[in-house]
Amino acid sequence: MLDRDAPATPRKLVEVKGLKMYFPITAGVLRRKVGDVKALDGISFDIFEGETLGLVGESGCGKSTCGRVILRLYAPTAGSIRIDGTEIAEADNQTLRPLRPSMQMVFQDPQASLNPRMTVAAIIGEPLDEHTQLSKTEKLDRIYELMDAVGLNRNFANRYPHEFSGGQRQRIGIARALALNPKFIVCDEPIAALDVSIQAQVVNLLEDLQDRLGLTYLFISHDLSMVRHIADRVAVMYLGRIAELAPRDALYDRPLHPYTQALLSAVPEPDPGIETDRKRIILTGDVPSPANPPKGCNFCTRCPRVMDVCRDIKPDLAEIEPGRFVACHLYETTAAAAGSTGASEDYERNQQGVSL
């Protein structure tokens, strides 16, 4: 793990800057535009070659939209996306097509993302038909090779998706994503639809493949404990913006943003001794609508440490320690020293039952 955590000079494979994705809200017979759902409201991050960036957040925070925009399944409203040095935010379909093999996606629901009328071989072979000129035997060899790589029995190549269990179907989806030797894979909640005992199998497979093929992942999930396991760095999203972005251990040991603190504190621990004594940060209320986000910080309506400034000015994502980015007024440069120690000490006090 360590060798891929810190390559000598990490190269940026994916660079996202100021990305915005607004979906129009229309009304009336004429479909007049009356507003925007701000699914992504100016997010920036980099993904280094060979790493896994975890993207966490609650439903509706824009994490899936983010994964889809980066692969240009949607056309972004504004911002820049560079993959392997190529700017693709504004690229048209002709330009994108030759780039598609290097960036692939594993979807959440293996039931819905596999065509029930195609055999496994046809599903895995479809990208090969589209993007390569392999002969029939070469193609079949490649399909078998992929099935072996994801741990599917070759003899099942002519079966249909419904004959497989959820975990096996997700393996088919992964084999399809691997077919064209991609560099970058967006995993959009790949384990959310699976049982606990099957989740571990799929996560281990994704990690093995990464080690063997040098893949780079954007791993989107709401499961904070699984992200802690698989990711090298983690970005926390809230209502279309990144609240915090940090290396995994730093984020889980000492979360800085009040939202990250509340989110981690809300995850129940499978240990009754800890659970009964642990102090939790319980947020009040729900996530506001992304069509009408609050003025100022998006989190100000639920933040336990809200200040006056939060209701007026949106905090920018700033690097407050090397590699740690936080968008919060508590850590603003003017009050950096006082603010940062105060907030994280508070968190540590809250979590004391846990560290035992």
Binding site: Q168, D195, Q199, P268, T276
Partner: protein, 334 residues
């Protein structure tokens, strides 16, 4: 919890079979458990382990066909719910046994107001008139922490968020002061911060109202925080049952052990590689004549292929359905 008190719900030898085109599926195989007053019993298992079907069977919520409740007894308030009139069952369901379902989006009717749906059980089961029912409905919304309850009675489900809808579902389940509340994955569809709110609410309500609760989930973390006793299900059977502290500290069934080890944690040590349970959960085409877990079990023996283990006591209030004896072995290293 009061120990040795008369159980409010006593289930013995429950069997449920689904008839499908591909043959029979034995979803619940001789499940027995009891529920004591005021207790919270956690039921853990993977999908298809029979946890929901068990609870649906015992109050006759499964459509027949395809479901067929083949045997067993369910004693509640001196009556066997499996062998009583439909009328009696209807007077129990939603009144003395309340239900909360997994998905708050689909279990509320979108064309009726929240108030109407809350008042329905109050008028049907408790015979309240419209005005009294409305007052009680507002009280219930207040109880589950919905601000401005009287006004929100006239809102429709789509005007509520997911967490709020689940609060409404809880209010409906509590409407007639049930003795038993069955909660089927009530927080699975919710985000963690909302789940934390609902768990806090349930802790509060238990102290205030003192009903017995059956809480079905696949999330071991949730169980650790709220349950008094835990029942682990696999292949339509109860494989282990113990008080919550005992189950997590000293799990005895190989499945429970494996399950506890596959779940990564957000706190404490981070493991380099996740432990996995190889293989798939079984689909039971016939009544099990052998242990359902043997194909994935690290400790399977010849005997496990021949016989289905019966539950046996291994400690106070702790039983497992397994032939293997872990003895004094420290389970973390097992």
């Amino acid at each position: 919890m009061p120990d040795g008190a008369e159980p409010v719900l006593d289930v013995k030898g429950l069997k449920t079979v689904f008839r499908t085109r591909g043959g029979e599926v034995h979803a619940v195989n001789s499940v027995s458990f009891d529920l004591r007053p005021g207790e919270l019993l956690g039921v853990v298992g993977e999908s298809g382990s029979g946890k929901s079907v068990t609870m649906m069977s015992l109050i006759g919520l499964l459509p027949s066909p395809p479901a067929d409740v083949r045997g067993g007894t369910v004693m509640f308030d001196g009556t066997d719910l499996l062998h009583c009139s439909e009328e009696h069952l209807r007077s129990v369901r939603g009144a003395r046994i309340g239900f909360i379902f997994q998905d708050p989006m689909t279990s509320l009717n979108p064309v009726f107001t929240i108030g109407f749906q809350l008042m329905e059980p109050l008028r049907k089961h408790m015979g309240l008139d419209k005005r009294a029912a409305r007052a009680r409905a507002a009280e219930l919304l207040d109880l589950v922490g919905i601000p401005d309850p009287a006004r929100r009675l006239d809102d429709y489900p789509h005007q509520f968020s997911g967490g709020m809808r689940q609060r409404v579902m809880i209010a409906i389940a509590l409407a007639c002061d049930p003795k038993v509340l069955i909660a089927d994955e009530p927080t699975t569809a919710l985000d963690v911060t909302i789940q934390a709110q609902i768990l806090e609410l349930v802790r509060e309500l238990r102290q205030k109202l003192g009903m017995a609760i059956v809480w079905i989930t696949h999330d071991l973390g949730v169980i650790a925080g709220i349950a008094d006793r835990v029942m682990v299900m696999y292949g339509g059977q109860v494989v282990e049952q113990a008080p919550v502290g005992e189950l997590f500290a000293n799990p005895r069934h190989p499945y429970t052990r494996a399950l506890l080890k596959t779940v990564p944690s957000v706190r404490g040590e981070r493991t380099a590689k996740l432990n996995v349970i190889e293989g798939q959960p079984p689909i039971l085409k016939a009544e099990p004549s052998a242990c359902a877990f043997r194909g994935r079990c690290l400790h399977a023996m010849a005997r496990c292929d021949r016989e289905n283990p019966l539950r046996r006591m291994v400690g106070p209030g702790h039983d497992i359905a397994c032939f293997w004896d872990p003895g004094q072995e420290e389970w973390q290293d097992a």
